[in-house]
C-alpha cells in the first residue's frame, strides 16, 4: 500500500458556518496505480490532491504514507517525506521564470542536497530522455506551452518520486500536446510510478486504471 486516507475532513469557517471542502474521504492507493480524480468545479479535487501532496493540511482524519502517519509528523519530517517521494505537475506549469530549463530541472536536486556531479548526470539524463537537450539553456518564456509542461513533468520526475500528482496537467494545452503528455504519463505508470491526476476530460481519465468522482467534497 502506498497511501491510505481514513475519514479525512477539511473545512473552512465562513460567516459563522462551517463549509466542508473534504468530507469523510476514505481512500487506499496501491503502488503502480494510475488514478483520475474527476468532478465539477469546486468539488474538492485540487484540495484532495494538495492534501495527498502534503501541501495542505486537513482538519480531521488519518493519513498513512508508506507506514508513516502524516497527520502526526512534524513539519520538517513531512517536508522530507514529500521531497523524497512526491512530484508535482501543475496546470500552469509553474516553472521558475528566472531559471533556464536546465536550472529548473536541477532545483529539486539542490533542495535534496544531491552532489554536484551526480546532479549534472541526472539532469543530462532527464534532458535526454525528454528530448529537450537543445532547449536546456532557454528560459520558460521562450518555450511553447507543451514544451513547458514537458519540463514540468521532467522536473517532477527528476528526483525519482514514487508518486506524481498532476493537477489538470493538460488544462492549458491543445489536443495534440495533451495527447503527448498523457502518453508520457501512461509510459511512466508502466515503469512503476504511481500517478494521481485531476482532470475534467473523460478522454484523459480513460488513461487511468481507476476513477474517483467527487461532489461537494464527498466521494461518490
Amino acid at each position: 500500500m502506498l497511501l491510505q486516507l481514513k475519514n479525512i475532513f477539511k473545512w473552512v469557517n465562513s460567516g459563522g458556518q462551517r463549509v466542508f471542502l473534504l468530507k469523510d474521504i476514505n481512500l487506499d492507493i496501491e503502488e503502480g496505480e494510475f488514478i483520475s480524480v474527476m468532478g465539477p468545479s469546486g468539488s474538492g479535487k485540487s484540495t484532495l490532491l494538495n492534501v495527498i501532496g502534503m501541501l495542505d493540511n486537513f482538519d480531521e482524519g488519518e493519513y498513512q504514507f508508506l507506514d508513516e502517519s502524516v497527520h502526526a509528523l512534524k513539519e520538517k519530517k513531512r517536508a522530507n517525506l514529500y521531497k523524497e517521494y512526491i512530484g508535482f505537475v501543475f496546470q500552469s506549469y509553474h516553472l521558475l521564470d528566472d531559471l533556464t530549463v536546465k536550472e529548473n530541472l536541477e532545483m529539486p536536486l539542490l533542495y535534496k542536497k544531491v552532489k554536484g556531479s551526480e546532479r549534472k548526470a541526472m539532469v543530462a539524463d532527464m534532458l535526454d530522455r525528454f528530448n529537450i537537450v537543445g532547449k536546456k539553456d532557454l528560459f520558460p518564456s521562450q518555450l511553447s506551452g507543451g514544451q513547458q509542461q514537458l519540463v514540468g513533468v521532467a522536473r517532477a520526475l527528476i528526483s525519482n518520486p514514487k508518486l506524481i500528482l498532476a493537477d489538470e496537467p493538460t488544462g492549458n494545452l491543445n489536443s495534440q500536446q495533451s495527447e503527448e503528455i498523457m502518453d508520457l504519463f501512461k509510459q511512466l505508470n508502466e515503469e512503476g510510478v504511481t500517478i494521481i491526476q485531476v482532470t475534467h476530460s473523460e478522454q484523459n481519465a480513460a488513461y487511468g486504471s481507476r476513477i474517483i468522482n467527487l461532489l461537494d467534497g464527498r466521494m461518490i
Partner: protein
C-alpha cells in the same frame, strides 16, 4: 547551492533595474554615511594612540574651591615638583615639568620662523617615545640644546644637516640642535610640539619664573608623569591628592586636591564641572555614532519595505519552490543571499562615495582621516558590517516572503492580506520620525549658534587686528611703536594688553576693598593694558572715566567691568581702592577710576566674568591691538604695518590675526557639529524619500487596475493623486507628532549645557512638519500623477 542563490539574486537585480537602483543607491548612501562616521569615531577614539605608554601617562591636575565653586585645571605650582620627587618618587617612572605651548621665534642664518613648542625636562622624549630621526635620543641633557620636529628642521635648515647647528631663539639665546624627531601626528595632544627645549633653560629666562620656585600659590606650570609599572592611576591619585594641602596651611581654605588625569581621557573626557569629570568630546562621538546608526537603519528600512512590497510578485516563486521540495530555511537563505548581494554592491559604492567625499569631510570636520586601505582591522570590521547590514535589511523580508503557503499562492488567489502593509507603514513612520527629529535638531543647533554669534560682544571687533608681542624685544618699545604706527596712517588707534582680546590669560585674587564681606574669596579676570585699551577697542565707559595720560597717578589705576560691580555688590565703586591683601609685601593699592561695559573674552555661551583692566606699568604686553584706518583697505594698512614692524624688529616674523576671526573661532566646534548634522539630516531625508518613491511606484503599480476602473467611472487626475498621496501623507503627519516631543526633549537637554541659550520656539516644529510634508507630497506626486494620467484602457486590457 550558494552559487545558485547568488545567480538567482543576480538575475533578479538585473530584471528590476529601477528597484535595484533605488535599493542599492539608498543603501550605498546609508553605508557611506555610516562608514565615514565610523572612520571619524575611530579617529577620535584613537587620539593619542601614538604613544606606546598611553595607559601609563597622566597630567597632574588640581581642583581648588573658591566660594563653594570648584575649579579644575592643569596649572600647578613649581615647588610641587620637588615635593613629589622627594616624597613619592617610587610611584612614578618619569616626572617632567613643562611650560605651556607657546610660539617662539627660531632663527638660523637668514631664516626666521615662529613655531609652537615646549620647554620640558630631560625625560620627556623617552616618556613620549619620540621617534628620533637624527641626533641624540637624550637631546635635552644640555641646557643649551634644542630638539626639533622634522618639519621645523626642514623649514629652518632645508637640506643642511641640522645637528650641531645653532638656532637663535627669540633673538635672545643660542641653542644647539641636538636631535630631530618625527612630527607627532594630527590626532595627538602634542601635535603642536614643533620643538622641545630644556626646562632648566626656561627657569632661568624670566624673573617671575625664577621667583615661582618656592611659591605654592603661583599655579603657572604643567607637570606630566608616567606612573610606575606596578601601580595604577587611582592608587597614585589617592597617595598624592593632599600633598599641596598638607604642606601649605594657608591654602587649606581652597582645599587644593591633586589628581592624575590619565592621557586616555585628555581628549575625549576633558570637561570638569565643579571638580567632577563631566564628559567632553565623547558626547559628540556618541551623538554621531547614533546618527550613523539611524541613517543605516533608514537605508535598511528602504530595503525591507521595497522587498516586502514586491511580495506578490515573488509569492509565486516561493510557492513553486516549496512545491518542489524547498524548506523554509532554504528559502530564507536564498532571500538573505539576495540581500547580501545587494549590500555588497552598496558597500562597494559606499566606499567609492567615501573616497570621493573624504577630502571635503576632513575639511569640514578639521580632521586628517585617510582611507585605511592597509588596515586589516578595517577590512575585518567591513566584513562584519556587510553581514550585519545584510541581516538587518534582509531578515524581515526573508522571514516574511518565505512564510507564504504554496497552495494559496499557486492557486493564483493570493492577495496580501488586509494587514500585510502594516509593518511597512510602521517602518515608514519610523523613517520619517527619525528624519523629522533630525531636521528639528539641526535647526535648533543652527539657531543656538546664530543666537550666540549675535550676542553683543561689548566692543567693536571689526577692523581690529592683534599682533603678538611676546618676545623680550618688544619690552619698553610700546610708546615708540605706537607713535610710529599712528604716523604711518595705517591705524587710527592702538593699545597693548597682557591677554588677547578674545581670551583671559590670568586671574588674580588677594584683594581687599572697603565693604568686602568677611570670608569672601574673591577672584578677578586680570588684564594689564595700556591707557588706550578702551579707546582702541571701542569699549564703552559706563561709569567714571577712562585712563588718561594727563594723570601720572593713573599708573596705579584700574578699570573694572560691569559684572565686577555686581560681583562686589557696591553700586558706585568709582574712587574706591583695591588693596593687596598680602601683608608682608603689599603692592600699592589700585584706584578704580571707571567701569567699562562687559566684553566677551571667553566663552560666548557663558556669562562674562568679573574683570579688572589695570594700567600696564611694566610695558610687558603680549599683544598689540590695532584699530585699522577705515579710510583704506585692510590689506593696504597691513602691508604698511608690516613694513614699520620689520624696520624695528627685523628678526621677528610679523604675525597678526583679525580679532573678528579669532572670535569666530569660538564657534568652530558648534559650527562644525551644525554643518555635519545638516549634511547627515539631508542624507537621511534623501534616503527616506528614495524609499517612499519606490514604495509609491509599487503601490501605483499594484493599484493600476483599480485606478483604471476609477477613471472609467469618472475620477479625475486630482482624485487619483489625492487617493494615492493621502495614505503616505497620513503616515508622515503621524511621524511628525512622534518626532516633535522626542526632538524637544533631546534638544532641550543639549541646550542646558549653554548658560546663554536660545529659547526653543514652536514655529520650528511647525517648520519641520511642513517641510517633511512638502517633501513627501513632491516625492509621492511624481508617481501618483503618472499613474493617474495613464490611459485606463491600457491598464484594463492587461487583465
Amino acid at each position: 547551492m550558494l552559487r545558485n542563490y547568488i545567480k538567482i539574486a543576480w538575475r533578479n537585480l538585473i530584471k528590476n533595474k529601477a528597484y535595484t537602483i533605488i535599493n542599492i543607491g539608498g543603501l550605498a548612501l546609508g553605508m557611506a554615511v555610516t562608514l565615514i562616521i565610523g572612520l571619524w569615531m575611530q579617529d577620535e577614539l584613537s587620539y593619542d594612540n601614538y604613544f606606546t605608554n598611553k595607559d601609563k601617562i597622566a597630567q597632574i591636575y588640581q581642583s581648588q574651591t573658591f566660594n563653594g565653586q570648584t575649579g579644575t585645571g592643569p596649572a600647578i605650582p613649581r615647588p610641587l615638583e620637588m615635593a613629589l620627587r622627594e616624597g613619592y618618587d617610587d610611584n612614578f617612572k618619569h616626572i617632567v615639568m613643562t611650560s605651556w605651548n607657546n610660539d617662539q621665534y627660531l632663527k638660523y642664518k637668514e631664516t626666521s620662523i615662529s613655531r609652537p613648542g615646549y620647554y620640558t625636562q630631560q625625560e620627556t622624549p623617552q616618556m613620549l617615545g619620540l621617534n628620533i630621526l637624527k641626533g641624540e635620543k637624550d637631546g635635552l641633557r644640555e641646557i643649551n640644546s634644542i630638539m626639533l620636529s622634522k618639519s621645523t628642521a626642514d623649514a629652518l635648515f632645508g637640506s643642511e644637516d641640522p645637528i650641531g647647528k645653532i638656532v637663535k631663539v627669540n633673538s635672545q639665546y643660542d641653542m644647539m640642535v641636538s636631535g630631530v624627531y618625527e612630527d607627532l601626528p594630527f590626532n595627538n595632544s602634542f601635535k603642536d610640539a614643533k620643538f622641545f627645549m630644556p626646562w632648566e633653560k626656561y627657569i632661568t629666562i624670566q624673573e617671575w619664573i625664577i621667583n615661582a620656585a618656592d611659591n605654592w600659590g603661583n599655579n603657572s606650570f604643567q607637570m606630566f608623569v608616567q606612573i610606575a609599572d606596578n601601580t595604577s592611576m587611582d592608587k597614585v591619585t589617592a597617595t598624592i591628592k593632599d600633598v599641596k594641602k598638607d604642606l601649605n596651611e594657608d591654602l587649606v581654605e581652597f582645599n587644593p586636591q591633586l589628581f592624575l588625569f590619565p592621557m586616555k581621557d585628555w581628549y575625549l573626557r576633558g570637561s570638569f564641572e565643579n571638580g567632577k569629570q563631566q564628559g567632553g568630546r565623547i558626547k559628540y562621538v556618541w551623538l554621531f555614532g547614533i546618527i550613523g546608526a539611524f541613517v543605516l537603519l533608514l537605508a535598511c528600512i528602504n530595503f525591507m519595505n521595497l522587498s516586502t512590497a514586491r511580495s506578490e510578485k515573488r509569492a509565486k516563486e516561493v510557492g513553486i519552490r516549496k512545491s518542489i521540495g524547498s524548506q523554509r530555511g532554504q528559502l530564507i537563505n536564498q532571500f538573505l543571499s539576495e540581500s547580501f548581494l545587494v549590500v555588497l554592491f552598496a558597500y562597494l559604492i559606499g566606499v567609492l562615495i567615501v573616497l570621493l567625499s573624504l577630502d571635503g569631510f576632513n575639511e569640514l570636520s578639521r580632521k586628517e582621516i585617510e582611507f585605511p586601505w592597509g588596515s586589516p582591522v578595517f577590512w575585518i570590521v567591513s566584513v562584519f558590517f556587510i553581514l550585519f547590514t545584510a541581516l538587518l535589511a534582509g531578515s524581515y523580508p526573508a522571514l516574511y516572503l518565505s512564510s507564504f503557503r504554496p497552495v494559496e499562492v499557486l492557486k493564483g488567489t493570493f492577495k496580501a492580506g488586509k494587514y500585510s502593509g502594516t509593518p511597512r507603514k510602521i517602518l515608514v513612520v519610523l523613517q520619517f520620525t527619525v528624519s523629522v527629529a533630525f531636521i528639528i535638531g539641526t535647526v535648533i543647533v543652527m539657531q543656538q549658534i546664530n543666537y550666540a554669534k549675535n550676542r553683543p560682544v561689548g566692543y567693536d571687533k571689526e577692523g581690529l587686528i592683534q599682533v603678538p608681542t611676546m618676545s623680550q624685544d618688544f619690552s619698553g618699545k610700546y610708546e615708540l611703536m605706537r607713535a610710529e604706527f599712528l604716523a604711518s596712517n595705517a591705524i587710527v588707534e592702538m593699545s597693548s594688553s597682557s591677554s588677547p582680546t578674545t581670551s583671559i590669560w590670568s586671574n588674580r585674587s588677594g584683594w581687599d576693598w572697603d565693604g568686602k564681606p568677611e570670608g569672601f574669596q574673591e577672584d578677578f579676570a586680570w588684564t594689564a593694558v595700556s591707557p588706550e585699551y578702551a579707546k582702541s577697542l571701542n569699549l564703552k565707559i559706563i561709569q567714571g572715566r577712562d585712563f588718561s595720560r594727563e594723570f601720572a597717578s593713573d599708573s596705579n589705576a584700574v578699570l573694572i567691568n560691569a559684572t565686577a560691580v555686581k560681583y562686589m555688590g557696591i553700586p558706585n565703586p568709582v574712587g574706591m581702592f583695591f588693596k593687596d591683601s598680602d601683608e608682608e609685601d603689599p603692592s600699592s593699592p589700585l584706584k578704580i577710576i571707571g567701569v567699562v561695559e562687559d566684553m566677551i573674552a571667553q566663552s560666548p555661551y557663558e556669562p562674562v566674568k568679573q574683570g579688572m583692566y589695570a594700567f600696564d606699568k611694566y610695558d610687558n604686553a603680549s599683544y598689540y591691538n590695532m584699530r585699522l584706518n577705515p579710510k583704506q583697505s585692510a590689506s593696504q594698512s597691513i602691508a604698511v604695518i608690516e613694513r614699520v614692524f620689520k624696520e624695528h624688529f627685523p628678526n621677528i616674523p610679523f604675525q597678526y590675526d583679525f580679532v573678528d576671526e579669532e572670535y569666530g573661532a569660538k564657534f568652530r566646534s558648534e559650527v562644525r557639529v551644525g554643518r555635519l548634522s545638516a549634511i547627515f539630516t539631508g542624507l537621511a531625508i534623501l534616503i527616506s524619500c528614495l524609499g517612499l518613491f519606490g514604495l509609491t511606484s509599487f503601490v501605483a503599480e499594484q493599484r493600476t487596475k483599480e485606478i483604471g476602473v476609477r477613471k472609467v467611472l469618472g475620477a479625475s487626475v486630482f482624485n487619483v493623486w489625492n487617493m494615492l498621496s493621502k495614505d503616505f501623507l497620513k503616515l508622515v503627519i503621524l511621524s511628525c507628532f512622534i518626532a516633535v516631543p522626542i526632538a524637544y526633549y533631546v534638544m532641550n537637554g543639549w541646550l542646558q549645557e549653554y548658560p546663554y541659550r536660545v529659547i526653543v520656539e514652536w514655529w520650528i516644529f511647525g517648520l519641520a512638519m511642513v517641510g517633511a510634508m512638502l517633501v513627501t507630497v513632491l516625492t509621492v506626486s511624481f508617481q501618483a500623477i503618472r499613474a493617474a494620467k495613464a490611459n485606463p484602457v491600457d491598464s484594463l486590457r492587461t487583465e
